[in-house]
């Protein structure tokens, strides 16, 4: 499944300072759908190069990280259970506090 993953607000530092990742995530055999839960596991294994605790806590993202699926808060689409489709854009962004 072709997806565009974007990291911002400092999270890009965890994946070699690269903000936009065009990726191809294989779904398991016989299963066609991919959920956000699957994607998080995939991101953690394949993209996060350092300090994984700055990205995840338990099986979800750490507090202070917003997840947007096609420019929409994942809270509105079922969080970890959100199903992804071909060409979806998923943004992970850390909330900023500076000024």
């Amino acid at each position: 499944m072709q997806l565009t993953l974007e990291f911002g607000g400092g999270l890009e530092l965890l994946c070699e300072s690269k903000k936009i990742h065009k990726v191809n995530v294989e779904t398991q055999k016989g299963v066609e759908k991919l959920t956000m839960k699957d994607l998080l596991t995939w991101v953690r294994t394949n993209l996060i190069k350092e300090r994984p605790e700055m990205f995840m806590k338990g099986d979800t993202v750490r507090p202070g990280v917003l997840v947007l699926v096609n420019d929409c808060d994942w809270e509105l689409s079922g969080q970890l259970n959100t199903t992804l489709e071909e060409k979806d854009v998923v943004v992970f962004i850390s909330t900023l506090h500076g000024g």
Binding site: G8, G9, G10, K19, E50, E53, M54, R62, P63, G64, V65, L66, L68, D71, C72, D73, E75, L76, V91, I93, S94, T95, L96, H97, G98, G99
Partner: protein, 466 residues
């Protein structure tokens, strides 16, 4: 030459005297205003209070909209906007807006809010103007370096628009004073720079039922949204659990391109103006994400008010008293007025002061100095002969330290080996590094107390600081 010098010092003395007189007059005006408010609270919002300034409201020029001839002229370009017009401007003139923080976000926000004719504009800040913040805190001028930001910002706002009321709150916002200060305004602009302030301001706005225009910026990115507006979410709806304190970077550590908070601060002024004038569609339930480097702005849909929210949810009973007793510093594990961290991880014999280290150099002690700051810090300024191995890559680059120690060690006559010293910016990462080096067998590694800042303070004042 001498007489010129004499003239200059005389002028400087006169300036000082005049400045002292001015601040004395400011104090007396504030005191009288407070007195008047107590006698007649309904006058609290009235610009009649603004000293010698002409009245801005309560003046009817006979056209049924309450704008004075001066106001018609000053705000004519607003009045010419069909979608803003007399009604929008008149709403604006009757409104009051509080800006918390006169820094990178607050600077442009305040300038625009003063210029556009907000009836009463409040400024909260406890800090002083510093030259290393002036690249982004554009409301302040060099003559105010070392003086309270509130004074400086208020003076700038007054010089742009003397017809509105500017209120100075020269204090840190705390749970003890927040309710009292915020309750005097219709709209709050969060232009602060730390997590506990953001939770505190949002909660206070929920308790008081005030809309909150929230902006943030760091590095080359900015974020903007409006909380607690018209049934929309509050800050806690979005972030019920605070992030780990290690995830909260500060501009003083991570850097920020000046214009980035400038852009966000301008947008904060815009959102506040829209709410105050009741024109347009405020950015509630949506968030603007600004990426300066790639020149992209994305506006995303965020969740609505959460029924489970501890501040604004269905069963939430967040009262004024609970607010006042809430410990925001403990909740976020971050101090409200962030001061540089001062770790103390090591035994005294594993540390050395900058002065002692200087003596070692003078005596010609054979040593290796490892600077564990990030590479881009090292490029700004470094001590001669130091070896840059950033803390992050220490593990992978231990062999470099081993071989450098060996090479230098050969120079010692007794074969006692070279000493190993570790330096960073303020003396925190160097302690972490020494702790790690001890664990990895470099048992003689010593931390230089206070880092490069300590060196600049106690040994070499000519070393540039950042």
């Amino acid at each position: 030459m001498e007489s010129n010098g004499g003239d200059a010092s005389q002028i400087l003395r006169q300036i000082e005297t005049l400045k002292a007189t001015r601040s004395d007059i400011d104090r007396r005006i504030s005191a009288l205003e407070a007195q008047l408010r107590e006698i007649n609270p309904s006058h609290g919002n009235d610009a009649v209070l603004n000293g010698s300034c002409p009245p801005i409201s309560g003046f009817d020029s006979g056209f049924g909209h309450g704008l004075s001839p001066d106001n018609i002229y000053r705000y004519s370009r607003h009045l010419l906007l069909p979608s803003f017009g007399v009604q929008g401007q008149s709403n604006l003139l009757k409104s009051s807006i509080l800006v918390v923080g006169a820094g990178g976000l607050g600077s442009p926000a305040l300038l625009y809010l003063a210029a556009c004719g907000v009836g009463r504009l409040g400024i909260v800040d406890h800090d002083v103007v510093e030259v290393n913040n002036m690249h982004r805190q554009i409301i302040h001028t060099e003559e105010y370096i070392g003086q309270p930001k509130v004074k400086s910002a208020a003076a700038a706002c007054r010089s742009i628009n003397s017809t509105i009321k500017i209120v100075e709150h020269q204090e840190a916002l705390r749970t003890s004073n927040a309710l009292e200060i915020l309750s005097q305004y219709d709209i709050v602009v969060d232009a602060t720079d730390n997590a506990p302030s953001r939770y505190m301001i949002s909660d206070c706005c929920v308790v008081l039922g005030k809309p909150l225009v929230s902006g943030a910026a760091l590095g080359l990115e900015g974020q903007l949204t409006v909380y607690n507006y018209n049934g929309g979410p509050c800050y806690r709806c979005l972030f019920p659990t605070p992030p780990p304190s290690t995830a909260c970077q500060r501009c003083a550590d991570s850097g920020v391109l000046g214009v980035v908070p400038g852009v966000i601060g301008c947008l904060q002024a815009l959102e506040a103006i829209k709410i105050a004038s009741a024109v347009g569609e405020p950015l509630s339930g949506r968030m603007l994400l600004f990426d300066a480097l790639s020149a992209r702005i994305r506006i995303v849909k965020i969740r609505g008010r959460s029924l489970q929210c501890e501040a604004c949810g269905e069963s939430a009973t967040f009262t004024r008293q609970q607010f006042q007793e809430f410990d925001y510093e403990k909740f976020t594990e971050t101090p409200l007025s962030p001061s540089p961290l001062k770790l103390n991880l090591l035994q005294a014999d594993s540390r050395i002061s900058t002065k002692e280290f200087k003596e070692k150099i003078v005596k010609g002690e054979v040593h290796i100095l490892v600077d564990v700051r990030p590479e881009h810090h090292f490029k700004i300024v470094s001590l001669p002969g130091s070896l840059n191995i950033p803390f992050r890559s220490l593990e992978a680059r231990l062999p470099e330290i081993s071989s450098a120690l060996e090479e230098e060690g050969n120079k010692t006559k007794s074969g006692s080996g070279a000493q190993l010293y570790v330096l960073c910016r303020r003396g925190n990462d160097s302690q972490r590094a020494v702790q790690y080096l001890h664990k990895m067998g470099f048992t003689s590694a010593k931390d230089i107390i206070g880092g490069l800042e300590g060196w600049a303070r106690d040994v070499d004042p000519n070393l540039p600081m950042y």
